[in-house]
Point group: C2
DNA sequence: GGGTACATGTAATCAGTTACATGATTTA
DNA sequence: TAAATCATGTAACTGATTACATGTACCC
C-alpha cells in the first residue's frame, strides 16, 4: 500500500463520485473539471486503471464481445485509500509550470550583451506580455463558461477550485498588464517611480 | 531540430547566462531562482545534458583524470535554439499542480453520503484549509528570503518572476482563509450571505 | 454507402524520479 | 584521522506522452 501517484487519486476520486465509468468517460469528466489544473492524456487512464486494478483498488470489468471495452468501479479498499489520502497532510508542494513566465525569466539570456541590449530585451518582453494577456484572458473565459455547468454549484468544493482557477488567471492578467505598462521597471521593481530620467 | 522539452530550455537558458557550468552548479542556480516554479532533480540534468550534447546544442567537456567531472557550455546552435524558443508564441498552457486544491475538490468523494455527510466534509475542509495556510505562508517566507539575493535585482525579469511567485502564494493564502472563514459557503458561492438560517 | 465524429485501446518511446555509490574537502 | 558536508555520477524504474489502429453510430 505504498502511496500512489496523484493521477491515481484523480481516478479514485472520480470513481468514488460516479460509482462506475469507462476511461473515456473519466477523460470527459476531467476535462470538465480538474483538467485545468491537473491534466493528462486519456491514454494514461488505461495505464492507471491497470495499476489500480492490480492493487485491488478498483475493478475492471472487461467486455470482449465484439468491441473491447472496460468499465471501472472503485472497491472498498479503493475508498479507504482515497480517504486516507484526503486526510493526509499535504505532501508535495504545489508546482506551477508556466512557459510564459519561464520565457520572461530567460529573456536577457536570449539577447547578445552590449549595444542596445536592453532595448531589444524590452521589445521582446512587450511582445511576450501581449501574448500572455491574450492567452490568460482566453482561459479565463473558458473558466467562466464552466461556471455555468450545473455540477459546479456555487459553494461546493468543485466550484471553489474553479473559482481559484479564475482568480489565478486574473492574477496573471494583472501581472502581465503591469509588465506591459512599464517594461523597463518590471513588477517587483522600485515601489513606483516611473522610468528613470523623469 | 524538433522542439525540446522545457527542461532543456532551462539548461540552455542558464548556460547562456553563465557561459560554463557543471550540472551541479546548474542545480544550485535552479534552486535559487526558477526552481520554485519549475524544478526537477539534479539527476535529470545529466540526462538533459546528454541529449543536448548529442544534438550539438551544448558541448560537454569531460575530465576523466582522477575524478569524473563534466563542464557544460552552450554552442552557437544552442543559442540560436534558445532564442527561437524565447520568440515562439507560447505553446503549452500553464499547468498548476496543487495537491491541496485537488484534495479540496475531492473532499465530498471521500465521505459516505447520508447522515451528517456535510458536517464531516466541512470539518475535513477546515483542517485542510489550516494546513494549506501554514504551507503557503512558509513558502512565501522562503520567497521573501530569495528577494534578498543580489542577483534578484528589482525590476529584472528574474525578480519579476519571483514577485509573481509571491503574489501567487498570497492569493492562495487569501483563498484558504476565506475557506476557513466560511467553510459551508466556499469561495465562488453566493455573493455574500452569511451561513443560512441567519 | 461514404464521410464524419465519437469511442476505444495498445505499443513504443521519452521524460522524470528514486536509490544508490563514491570522491573530495573541510572541520572538530 | 574520523565525521560531516559538498560534489559527482549512474542504473533501474516508473510515469507520461505520442503515434497509431480500429470499431461503432449517425447524418447526408
Amino acid at each position: 500500500m505504498a502511496d500512489l501517484p496523484i493521477s491515481a487519486y484523480v481516478v479514485l476520486g472520480l470513481l468514488a463520485e460516479q460509482e462506475e465509468a469507462t476511461p473515456y468517460q473519466l477523460d470527459q469528466l476531467i476535462r470538465r473539471s480538474i483538467g485545468n489544473f491537473w491534466s493528462f492524456p486519456r491514454s494514461q487512464l488505461y495505464a492507471e486503471a491497470g495499476r489500480l486494478a492490480r492493487q485491488g483498488l478498483i475493478i475492471e470489468h472487461r467486455e470482449e464481445n465484439g468491441r473491447r471495452r472496460r468499465t471501472l468501479a472503485i472497491t472498498d479498499a479503493g475508498r479507504r485509500q482515497l480517504r486516507r489520502w484526503l486526510e493526509t497532510p499535504t505532501d508535495a508542494p504545489a508546482e506551477v509550470h508556466d512557459p510564459g513566465v519561464l520565457r520572461l525569466h530567460f529573456q536577457p539570456a536570449g539577447h547578445d550583451r552590449g549595444e542596445d541590449h536592453s532595448a531589444s530585451v524590452t521589445q521582446a518582453i512587450v511582445r511576450l506580455a501581449g501574448e500572455q494577456i491574450a492567452t490568460h484572458e482566453r482561459l479565463l473565459a473558458v473558466y467562466r463558461q464552466k461556471t455555468e455547468n450545473p455540477t459546479m454549484r456555487p459553494g461546493t468544493p468543485q466550484r471553489a477550485s474553479l473559482e481559484l482557477g479564475m482568480r489565478y488567471e486574473q492574477l496573471l492578467i494583472d501581472f502581465w498588464k503591469e509588465v506591459l505598462d512599464s517594461p523597463t521597471n518590471l513588477p517587483g521593481g522600485a515601489p513606483d517611480g516611473p522610468d528613470p530620467a523623469t
